[in-house]
Amino acid sequence: MRKLLGAWTGLVLVTLYVPIAVMGVFSFNASRRPRWTGFTLDWYRKTLGDHNIQDAVWKTLVLAAASTVLAVALGTAAALAARRSFPGKRLWNTLVSLPVMVPDIVMGIGLFALFHALGTGLSLATAVIAHATFNLSYVAIVVSARLQGTDRTLELAAQDLGATPWGAFRKVTFPAILPGVVSGALLAFTLSFDDFVITYFTAGTGNMTLPWKVYAMAARMGVTPEINAVSTLILGASLVLVVAALRLSRVPVTGGGR
């Protein structure tokens, strides 16, 4: 039975990684056609030199950074608010974390309709609000998990030793949840950086981000080596961020030295 599972799952790995490998390989292919003719960095040079793409990268980073700051502030607050028990705590937790599961397209259209109804028009600012909205739940979930793993008696011990409640939070609880906050921030940044659908509905056509740009290029011209190059770069950046976030979220709650 173990042999069978092994073979089966070999198949799995192939399905998972061949598309990504194909994309990566062809981004270094000298020919435009999907046949290997030699190694080149031309496509990377070309795309990174393109002013449109530079502009998209810049907008993507601004959008991701701004929405991450907002999402971290609101999400951490939401997690901290749910720490003590109060009537309706369960409902609160559900309301805070449920948006993670709202389909992108629904959230995009909902935000679009809201901004339309409010008459604000679409801009990078509306996109920031939109991204912060969906990211806040992720941050709240990550920070809550960390808080739950943090021993409440640590704060009592600090107060017992003479720290004020605020001092105890600052000196004991905050260091304990910090990896969770950073991990949530990295996750939020990544999700914002990768998003296409919600940006499409909330940023306005003047503010194409990188995934949107890729989408538009692919929709217009099919998959070109330039697109492979940009996609590979997006993937690389995402994975670095995600691995960093996972590393941090695994720092044991009870662990760590100075």
Binding site: D151, T153, L154, L156, A157, A158, Q159, D160, L161, G162, A163, T164, P165, G167, A168, K171, V172, P175, A176, P252, V253, T254, G255, G256, G257, R258
Partner: protein
């Protein structure tokens, strides 16, 4: 100045309809090693948290060194606590943990005082160790050093040894007792382990269901328990429900036991006071001989009644008949 370091009067504390503390009054003298002994859920930890200031009483008053603590938050109370799970700060090393209270007080010579405290608990040289790399016993000592270094008036200890192995626990019992004597600090010690409470304390309060059933020195609590609960909790015993006429107590199954009690009472004889084949007495059958090294428990049956004796002189084997006896002065009378 008041001679009592801790004074609890008529304290009631309920959680959602259940009263964890149901009218507690106790007074702890300066420099005393005082234990709260009781089964889990008896309210002993709640009482300790009330003294520490983590909870406020619904009724009654708590005084520390003669000062009413109503409304005084934990960080303004001159008591420190050793938590059951130690509650060491994971992001600080051993020295950082011990220095925590001193840093808040902005005390002088923090380094020297930390070193001295670590020496007192036998952890000299552990300053830079991460607390997560410590063994259970070392964590316990670190928590102790952190709590004593600021020199609090009263030290609260919440089952500090319960997470440790038997052999380690016994060694630390002795050490804790010695430390308390040398510091001259008042210790309020919470435990569910009757041997621990008896061995370490100057006085013990036995708690049950939110109330104190008896307060007194260990010997008094063990030898003259006030209630059946206390008798059963601080040791094992042979119990006899019956009715006394002033010279004898008669049980429902027809036993007559010499005792001056009058009315409905419960009599109790400790196993180590019971003699097996030590003279004329109750006829019984040896059911089980449980050899325990330093002592031997003999389980006997007399009719429907199960009796336990710990008689080092008895030489009996399961299945043999035997007589069971005790001296009249070893019979304790408890309210029924």
């Amino acid at each position: 100045m008041d001679e009592f370091d801790v004074s609890v009067r008529g304290v009631v504390k309920g959680f959602g309809g259940r009263r964890a503390c149901d009218g507690i009054t106790l007074q702890i003298r300066r420099g005393e090693f005082f234990s709260l002994l009781g089964p889990s859920g008896c309210g002993k930890t709640t009482l300790m948290r009330l003294v520490a200031g983590f909870e406020s009483p619904d009724e009654g008053t708590i005084e520390l060194a003669g000062r009413d603590m109503a409304g005084v938050p934990p960080h303004r109370r001159d008591v420190n606590m050793v938590f059951q799970n130690y509650a060491l700060f994971p992001h600080l090393d051993v020295a950082g943990n011990v220095a925590f209270g001193l840093r808040i007080q902005k005390a002088p010579d923090i380094e020297g005082r930390v070193r001295a405290a670590l020496e007192q608990v036998g952890l000299a040289g552990y300053e830079r160790r991460a607390v997560t790399t410590l063994s259970g016993g070392e964590q316990q000592r670190t928590a102790l050093a952190r709590a004593i270094v600021t020199g609090p008036r009263v030290l609260l200890l919440d089952e500090p040894l319960s997470a440790l192995d038997l052999k380690l626990r016994q060694g630390l019992q002795e050490e804790l007792r010695r430390l308390q004597r040398s510091l001259g600090m008042t210790f309020l010690y919470v435990t569910h382990d009757q041997e621990e409470a008896l061995a370490m304390s100057d006085r013990v309060a036995v708690m049950n269901a939110g109330r104190i059933e008896q307060t007194g020195p260990p010997r008094e609590v063990y030898e003259t328990p006030a209630t059946r609960f206390v008798a059963g909790f601080v040791g094992s015993g042979n119990f006899f429900d019956g009715r006394g006429d002033g010279t004898m107590v008669r049980t429902a199954d027809g036993l007559s036991i010499e005792c001056r009690a009058v009315g409905d009472v419960t009599l109790m004889v400790r196993p180590e006071k019971v003699r097996v084949n030590g003279g004329p007495g109750l006829a019984a059958l040896v059911e089980e001989v449980l050899y325990q090294g330093a002592s031997t428990s003999i389980v006997l049956r007399a009719g429907d009644r199960r009796l336990v004796a710990e008689d080092p002189d008895a030489r009996v084997r399961p299945g043999e008949p035997a007589t069971v006896s005790w001296r009249p002065e070893d019979v304790r009378v408890l309210p029924k």
